[in-house]
Amino acid sequence: MKGELFSSRWGLVLATLGMAVGTGNIWRFPRIAASNGGGSFLVAWAVFLLLWSVPLMIVEFSFGKRSRLGTVGAFAKLAGRRWAWMGGWVALCATAIMCYYSVVSGWCLRYLALALQGRPGPDGAASAWEGFAGTAQALGPHLVAMSLATLVVWFGVRGIERVARVLIPTLFVLVLILVARALTLPGAERGLAFLFTPNWADLASPRIWLEALTQNAWDTGAGWGLILTYAIYMRVREDVPLNAFLIGFGNNSVSLLAGIMVLCTVFALNPAAHEEIVGAGNEGLTFVWMPQLFAAMPGGALFMVVFFLALSFAALTSLISMLELASRVLMDMGVGRRVAVLSVAGLGLAVGAPSALHMPFFQNQDWVWGVGLMLSGLFFALAAARFGLERLRREVVNGEGSDVRIGRWWVWVVGILVPLEAVVLMVWWLWQARSWDPEGWLHPLGVFTTGTVLAQWAVALLALVALNGWLVRRQHPSPGEEPTP
């Protein structure tokens, strides 16, 4: 393991922040906050930071630090050999997301290149997006994004740390520049009012809470297995709980800044279209509306470059962590780093290509594996319970190097609340898919159907359970027997 550790706490924190801060902070949070009651949504979102994200981050850090193995080996070592398939699910889910996230990262890089050329203009933004997304033109940026991530992961944890040390502070500065510009636009206060005016009656709506929980599940990276992967490279006397809180709050700080930046820009420049803009979806907001808004802003060409640079940095640092996760799982099976990284990158390019070429395929994968992340969170909570939550708290969370003590509340949250939240979220998402397609909601080949989720999950879970013994035997070094109680 020597030479494969983060050189300092700040290397670990910056790399993990890079993992957590992704496109979801910039293109999803502002839309979801705006369309779910603004101030009241923010209250629920802050609550679930403490009742989902941070507790699961603590679990992930503990698993990585204790096992020093990727998701499959960590689950086998800490929950027991029979449960390696759960770690396999976590790895599969994150890897499936990596395949299409490389396409998303490619979009961001492509629009950065366009912004540097002063394009797309206000009139051509919609046609530029339609002529690009879902066509062969999206393959080149997909290849560029995956190649950049491969280059970083090729050099191991030192490569990841070096890149994070430059990109993450720069990303924070870029976001602050954009927020400053947005706040100084005439009429920006209408965006602030829209984001921060609470309607307390909304808090009685379950939908607000479920959307807030979903946002936490998707944009903090908790329960994805990515934090576990970086925690493998923690120094021996490294803290767990304070780092988990720091990353959770750091991630949500960027989300809140992005919310202010996007909504103030929208309300200052095109207040009449705000409902249409926030309802345009992630890609519609980012690649169709933002170029139009920047075109109407004094100095907009420069700020559009800053925006897409920030988005590209956020996307790439998350893509890097996904590539490392899958590579680490192969490395635990005795594959060398370079072969593992090239294999995963090749797989990502091939499986991601249909998402680049066909938007419904991309949307289907985003739907299936996005909801799959909630099952990953559930598996983390169950594995931690198998190991013993109180034991994990005593021996790892509050163990050597810990800077703060975590009380028994964490045991209750991870043992009861997190599994409950995961189940409720999955049922809610799969149930509401009925209303999107009442006739064909069980169709396994639909884009946004419940059937497609259940069918793809069933194939994946059956394969992983069948391969459980093989997965455990291939672990190098082999994880121990059942954990002692």
């Binding site: 706490r9 923010l42 009012a193 304070l242 809180f245 720091l246 750091g250 949500n252 809140l256």
Partner: protein, 42 residues
């Protein structure tokens, strides 16, 4: 912006950004203590 909006901004912003700043300072101080301990031991 109504007074309620300003209060919500202060509360949410204070919780998220203030929390991040507080945790960052605490981590910096903890790291300083660990560094000094390492120097004494070496």
């Amino acid at each position: 912006m109504t007074p309620v909006s300003w209060i919500t901004l202060a509360l949410i912003g204070g919780f998220v950004w203030g929390g991040f700043a507080f945790l960052l300072v605490r981590a910096i101080r903890a790291e300083g203590r660990k560094e000094r301990r390492r120097e004494r031991q070496s």
